[in-house]
């Protein structure tokens, strides 16, 4: 997660991604999660936590796939 967040901070992650949160394996915080600028967020298993109509860009899909995310 630290590496992914550093990629966001240094502009190496695709536009529209604002941060990555660590999943805690609990019912409340089950899986790693990526947050987008429009308020949407996507769990690592490819399920939306909040989907505000976010359409993933090709760059986002590529980056997330490369980092172990399933794409919905």
């Amino acid at each position: 997660m630290n590496q992914l967040n550093k990629a966001v901070q240094t502009g190496k992650a695709p536009k529209g991604i604002i941060r990555f949160d660590k999943g805690r394996g609990t019912k409340n915080l089950p899986l790693d999660e990526v947050h987008f600028k429009d308020g949407s967020s996507l769990y690592r298993d490819g399920t939306w936590r909040h989907n505000k109509g976010h359409k993933l860009t090709n760059d986002q899909i590529k980056f997330l796939k490369e980092n172990g995310w399933n794409i919905p």
Binding site: N5, T26, N28
Partner: protein, 168 residues
């Protein structure tokens, strides 16, 4: 917390709307969380004020928020990773501000009484809070502070978290 202004009405409405989606689910509790930057009017909040604002919100909620008796409200605070295992006897405000995660804002959560008893109470380690934290709250006796730490193989460091539970 001088200099921090909260639009209390908008914050409460936003949280109440979130809370209603949990409470109205016919008794079926599911995982949920609301990061403080997802609350209306707080989307531009910065790390410098995450802790102060989180406690301000928690203080509003413990005094005014109405929930189902079977649900417990808690604040979850991600901390920075550490090369050393954390042993925490007393949590202070300054330490928390220095050690809060660089990336993930604190989040509000609801858990069921059952999950609290079966999981959180067993998994977490209880700690005390310094008076510079407890003095911020009007309903001190209802708050329980816990922490959890474990070695994260992916990061090669210790993961650390703080939990503040509000029980009626």
């Amino acid at each position: 917390m001088d200099g921090i202004y909260l639009d209390e009405r908008r914050v409460q409405t936003s949280i109440q709307n979130w809370g209603n989606t949990i409470i109205s689910s016919n008794g079926k509790w599911e995982g949920n969380n609301l990061h403080i930057d997802e609350i209306e009017s707080l989307d531009k909040i910065t790390r410098l004020t995450w802790i102060d604002v989180s406690f301000m919100i928690l203080n509003i909620l413990v005094n005014q928020f109405k929930t189902d008796d079977s649900l417990i409200l808690f604040l979850h605070i991600d901390l920075k990773y550490s090369l050393e295992i954390m042993s925490l006897e007393k949590l202070s405000l300054n330490w928390l501000k220095e050690n809060v995660s660089e990336y993930t804002p604190p989040s509000l959560n609801f858990t069921s009484l059952e999950y609290y008893t079966d999981f959180y109470e067993k998994e977490l380690v209880r700690c005390k809070a310094d008076t510079n934290i407890t003095d911020l709250f009007n309903s001190l006796s209802h708050l329980d502070f816990f922490y959890r730490t474990y070695f994260d193989e992916d990061e090669g460091m210790y993961s650390r978290e703080i939990y503040v539970f509000f029980k009626k």
